[in-house]
Assembly symmetry: C2
Homo-oligomer: 243 residues x 2
Amino acid sequence: MSNDGKLKLDACFSPHLYSIYRDDDSIVVIIDIFRATSAICAAFHHGTEKMIPVATVQEAAEYKRQGFLAGAERDAIKVEGFDFGNSPYDYMGDHVKGKTIALTTTNGTQAIAVAKDAYKVVIGSFLNIDALCDWLIAENRNIVLLCSGWKNKFNLEDALFAGAVTEQLVQRSKDFKLGDGCLALKYLFEIGKKNPVKFLNYASHKERLAKLNLKKDIKFCLTLNYTKVVPVLEGKYLVNYSK
Amino acid sequence: MSNDGKLKLDACFSPHLYSIYRDDDSIVVIIDIFRATSAICAAFHHGTEKMIPVATVQEAAEYKRQGFLAGAERDAIKVEGFDFGNSPYDYMGDHVKGKTIALTTTNGTQAIAVAKDAYKVVIGSFLNIDALCDWLIAENRNIVLLCSGWKNKFNLEDALFAGAVTEQLVQRSKDFKLGDGCLALKYLFEIGKKNPVKFLNYASHKERLAKLNLKKDIKFCLTLNYTKVVPVLEGKYLVNYSK
């Protein structure tokens, strides 16, 4: 809590900065809009039972050897030999239903790794934003919005989403005191929400994905409330906390 | 340069992130609006010949023992036994004219320390913004806008100024390709420039300074173009490069 008895809501713009924002009594929201946290939400929506986020390709490969389905992405491309990359479309359909899937990605699973000792770690994306905010308000805790960024650099799409969460939480509850990161994001979202695709037009990672012909993924990852899943870390597993 | 032949312009929101943005061919602009970089600009405007930015109070004390004037601030307060804190008003008047002054502050001099191996390190504040941008455009180099923040956390006033520099550089030259940090700041400055004092109203450090009765400092640090000085690091010294 802050000095005035309010809950603290702040944003951390890179996993590399997390040590500065770390507060193990907080809930940490992991944000990697293009595309890890969007893919995780899609997987749970399609009935995945558990996911095992891991930091390295080697760890994901070990799970695959043990018979698990496994996804691996580096530099926006699926790593050879794995079942999935980090496109949400890879995780849609009966092939993921009831399964436990290991996953490693360039940014998102790194962010999960640094935050693993927080009070709770939850996965956020535009796909589950309302369900996420419902859950966050019910939890009634300090919150750190952890933007995965791109290789530890700030990125615009994760910031846009963190701004969307900030706006929704502030509109729905007077209990939050915003840190400077969230103050900036709230302003940013006021501009970005009018036309998110245009807002992100010059974003570095959007350019990167567009070059790889992933415009369909970009559009899908900006879909609001595709699902009500709330993936939360329990030990080494992500599980769905939605009711 | 970026792939399309343009100069890179990006923002780094914390000294703790600088290793991620580091590019020793870049010019690094050190930004600590409340109040180190504003105080440095004020000192040079009032005829200071050189400044010696140091990371620790011990180093500043050593310079004082050697007979130099020395400023030291921690947690927004002047450290006992030193000649100055980091209020710009401390550095105005004949007592600084022709002098060499050692300085250590909570955030700004830490940022200078991490960036010291860059191609050039320059001091920016609202007080010297136009002179700074003239100099940056003439240099024709990649630029990293290094926001000092507050104890390695993002802060709003440094981001606002970095946004002001981004807007001015982009308006005056088509040669820059913006990283995601600067894209966000450009949007942020569009909102903030209408009323900077109101924009910063809830900023954590502004609250901190207001509690210390430093509203006069806040107002002064938001003054545009008080001076034409361009303080640049040469070895261990800051010197004024303005013509």
